[in-house]
Symmetry: C2
Subunit: 287 residues, 2 copies
């Protein structure tokens, strides 16, 4: 998906919401197991639970979001069946919601020939639109992901977690911080048409500093909701003239209800966020 197409979707849906699919079998809603039991064989139950939960969440939230972010950890944890579910969910999205951006949240990154294999996995085998990538290993760990038309690297810059302070805020002799180095250096490898950055919603005013170094890049912003970040603050400091933000919510949407109505409630939560976003986009003159 190109930047232009992504912005068109944001304008059309009046939303820059990304729904995170962190599908944890320990948190499945009541009653889902019974439904799945009727439709799947005993040995397909893990696949069935993951697939049915995710696709019902997708159907309910699709009108209100522009992107989905399946988190690989939550599929890998269930072995082969988990990966089959990941594959099934990607295919389901591609068939039914081809205009939604799919971000595989896998935080990959390795020496060149290994990153090349990861790129092949996600951009050829699964054919997703974007992949989160960790910057620690530098240029040759990132560039193999940049050679695909219409595909995106979503590079970790300043993450939403407490541990982000351990290394990302380290300052060099001139006061430049590690995440700022990542922002600057990586712009020698990619551009705002094939690279986004992860910036946690919990980082508040730091968005001002980020925008000094990456004025036009899209930012993928986790941490609104369960992790405590504020949508208003993110937009105040991070929004640019064509939006430039994808705000992710995972647990706040997908586990909003533990009852049979989990998908309906997920849809409502997504719609609430979409309505807040529509207002922000209107106030900013974007929609």
């Amino acid at each position: 998906m190109t930047r232009k197409e992504l912005i068109e979707q944001i304008r059309e849906k009046q939303s820059f919401l990304c729904v995170g699919l962190d599908t944890d079998l320990d948190k499945m809603p009541k009653g889902l197991k019974e439904i799945v039991k009727k439709e799947y064989e005993e040995e397909e139950m893990t696949f069935g639970m993951l697939f049915e939960f995710s696709t019902r969440i997708i159907d309910a939230t699709a009108p209100y979001c522009v992107a989905y972010k399946p988190n690989l950890a939550f599929y890998e944890a269930y072995g082969i069946e988990g990966m089959a579910a990941f594959e099934g969910i990607i295919e389901y999205l591609q068939e039914n919601y081809p205009k939604h951006l799919i971000i595989a949240d896998a935080k990959r990154g390795d020496i060149g020939n290994t990153s090349k294999m990861y790129a092949k996995t996600f951009f050829e085998q699964y054919n997703v639109d974007a992949l989160t990538v960790a910057p620690y290993m530098g240029e040759d760990s990132v560039t193999p992901f940049l050679g695909y038309d219409g595909k995106w690297v979503v590079l970790l810059a300043l993450t939403s977690n407490k541990g982000s302070h351990d290394f990302q805020l380290m300052k060099d002799e001139n006061g430049e911080r590690l995440f700022e180095k990542v922002l600057k250096k990586s712009q020698e490898w990619g551009n705002d048409e094939n690279m986004m950055y992860v910036v946690g919603a919990t980082q508040g005013q730091m968005f001002e500093d980020i925008r000094k170094l990456a004025p036009n890049h899209f930012l993928l912003v986790p941490g609104v909701g369960a992790q405590g970040g504020s949508l208003e603050e993110v937009c105040k400091y991070g929004m640019i003239k064509d939006c430039g933000l994808l705000v992710n919510s995972s647990r706040g949407i997908i586990y909003a209800s533990n009852e049979k109505d989990f998908d309906e409630v997920a849809g409502q939560k997504a719609q609430e966020l979409q309505q807040q976003m529509a207002k922000i986009l209107a106030d900013a003159g974007i929609c």
Copy 2:
């Protein structure tokens, strides 16, 4: 596997060799396909190739090494069948070579609840002994992997690739470099019984600096062979009184021959390295 058990293996085999399983279908030896065709159904060919290649390499090299390092990228790239092969190879190792350390080279690391899922995947689902982890996201991205008895985090410190210079050598106002911060900070989370560090063989004399900060930790050292690192130099600066090194070779062993004798030649290459290592261990008074 405990540190004590690992050191016993090193003494017994007179080897600190780790064989990296970067199993690329584009590099399979001549004739293997015909053998696999006879034993596997058409739809199992990918599994069959990956499994047969890897297990034959394992059988040929097991007497000369103490560890195997399957590289997840090279299994994930082949989708579900690739992951089934990974699972099969782990089971094969556990059944036939239970004293070999298994390091899943996956370079994972994410916010706490996601790292917890990755830990579950590798230390419960696959039950490997060790996992490579990327430090960029800090404490809560690493500690979930440290809560397992006899399991190891292998944290990236100073990697073997060219890109390692981009961020890992960044200096703070006191001249302390990022990889040094990683070494220091991470010792607040784990110790030399549950944490190792990745230090590339291409880093030469930097091993001296590493040993100042991590005098007792095991170091996993990739980059000997295809990437140009020197075994002698690594040992000169990095070896400690109970060895403290696992030196990895992947391509230099597993693709040493492209002919039918690929496993035999891989065994010879592993043995050559083992013999060099035996001499070094003897000279150091370890064996």
